[in-house]
């Protein structure tokens, strides 16, 4: 028997290790759910065509653009946002960003960190080219990317 389509649904999703149960309109984007409903405002919105990557989070461990995912699609899933990367202490990756001046306005930074963290999980010592490919979906208008790539490579080499 087919499921009946609904326009509101309770989603059960683990975000940064905490499980939330929340009723959402099925049309709500994951990024708005995170920012507005869960008040996790570290994930940002920079465009309306899924082009900029400022909204990047981990969905079941892989980086995705949360503006191109409906909140209901995350039902039953685990999400990590920038707020879940570290705690009081900066992670080596975050420290490397600061050491290498890989952020200016900081708006693209959460998305960059999420993409970079996913890369380092899979490839602990990436080359410059590996890093560029991993960050290709994250737009920055302030830095020109050079320092960002340097910061991620350095974090990989453990010389953050």
């Amino acid at each position: 028997m087919a499921t009946t389509p609904v326009s509101e649904k309770v989603v059960r999703v683990s975000v940064n290790g905490t499980t939330y149960e929340y009723e959402v309109p099925t049309r709500r984007l994951l990024v708005h759910f995170l920012r507005d409903d869960l008040a996790l405002t570290g994930t940002h919105i920079g465009c309306d065509t899924g082009s900029c990557g400022a909204c990047t989070v981990h969905l079941n461990g892989v980086p995705v653009k949360s503006c191109a995912v409906l909140a209901v699609q995350a039902d039953g899933a685990a999400v990590t946002t920038v707020e879940g990367l570290g705690d009081e202490e900066l992670t080596p990756l975050q420290q490397s960003f600061s050491d290498h001046h890989a952020l200016q306005c900081g708006y693209c930074t959460p998305g960059m960190l999420m993409s970079a963290a996913a890369l380092l999980d899979e490839n602990p010592s990436p080359s410059e080219e590996d890093v560029k490919v991993a960050l290709q979906g994250n737009i920055c208008r302030c830095t020109g990317y050079w320092n960002i790539v340097e910061a991620v490579v350095a974090a990989g080499k453990g010389v953050a």
Partner: protein
């Protein structure tokens, strides 16, 4: 940036999915969402019902069956880039998937979703036509298989109609004497195509398909005939391709005039053919 109201269902089997797509007018399948969600954000399309295919595990696998590479419609572009089956059977699919957009898009975007959009600037429609792929479509009345040419029907339109669900894309595995190539010009690295061409040679027989010049991939049949069975060198290819642009009626837009697109179509064809010829030589 904000969707209109929409109803949503997440079936657990292909049968349920087909049922939902059949029962509800204006229902659309939601695969990776990398195109559909963005289109819905623009409110350029607003289906009444979204049928989320995420739980249909049957549509994910990539397998080799005899001499055919079978890619489930819900296989993500990321999984295609990592698949050893693809690498062994038809590596150009993985190489092409790796240039689509970015990691985030490839983690969600599926091959099925990509080709069901039939965006003239997409990578896979011309490539699958050149490879002689076929598509399996399931509906309430059963299953049918169509060729790639039959699949791409018109402006953002495919053979997948109301109540239909694409389940599988089948590509012949590459044997000896097979070579594939794809060339074009994109808007920035890994960007959308402004012009492209895909070429495939199997034992001296050519299939060449152009994207970006019309609503559906364009088979360059005259070029194919000129090259079939011949020794392919650059001079011969250029000679065969000359005049191809004049037979096309490509659109003009902010990125290319019609004249420029015609020229790029020719250059992309030459390069794709030379790539394929070199691969075929081993």
């Amino acid at each position: 940036m904000l969707l209109r109201e929409v109803s949503y269902a997440r079936p657990s089997t292909v049968e349920e999915a087909v049922s939902l797509l059949t029962e509800h007018d204006g229902a659309r399948a939601l695969a990776g969402g990398q195109t559909l969600v963005n289109v819905m954000k623009q409110r350029a399309a607003s289906p009444d019902v979204l049928v989320d295919l995420a739980d249909l595990d049957d549509l994910r696998p990539i397998t080799v069956s005899g001499t055919t590479l079978e890619i489930g419609a819900m296989a993500t572009l990321a999984s295609i880039t990592r698949s050893s089956e693809v690498e062994v059977s038809r590596p150009i699919l993985a190489a092409t998937a790796a240039t689509v957009a970015d990691v985030q898009v490839r983690n969600r975007g599926t091959l099925g979703g990509n080709i069901c959009v039939n965006d003239p600037t997409n990578h896979f429609p011309p490539l699958l036509v050149a490879l002689g792929a076929s598509m399996t479509i399931r509906s309430a009345s059963g299953e049918r298989v169509v060729t790639a040419e039959e699949f791409f029907v018109g402006v953002f339109e495919t053979a997948v109609g109301e109540g239909d669900l694409l389940t599988r894309i089948s590509i012949p595995a590459a044997g000896k004497g097979t070579g594939d190539g794809m060339a074009g010009v994109t808007l920035g690295a890994h960007g959308t195509y402004v012009a492209n061409a895909a070429a495939s040679v199997v034992d001296g027989t050519w299939r060449i398909a152009l994207g970006c010049v019309g609503a559906v991939p364009h088979r360059a049949t005259a070029v194919e005939s000129a090259l079939d069975g011949t020794d392919v060198d650059e001079a011969a290819v250029r000679s065969a391709v000359e005049g191809l642009g004049d037979t096309l009626d490509p659109p003009a837009d902010v990125h290319a005039s019609a004249e420029y697109r015609r020229s790029l179509a020719e250059t992309s064809t030459v390069r794709a053919v030379l790539q394929a010829a070199e691969k075929a030589r081993g």
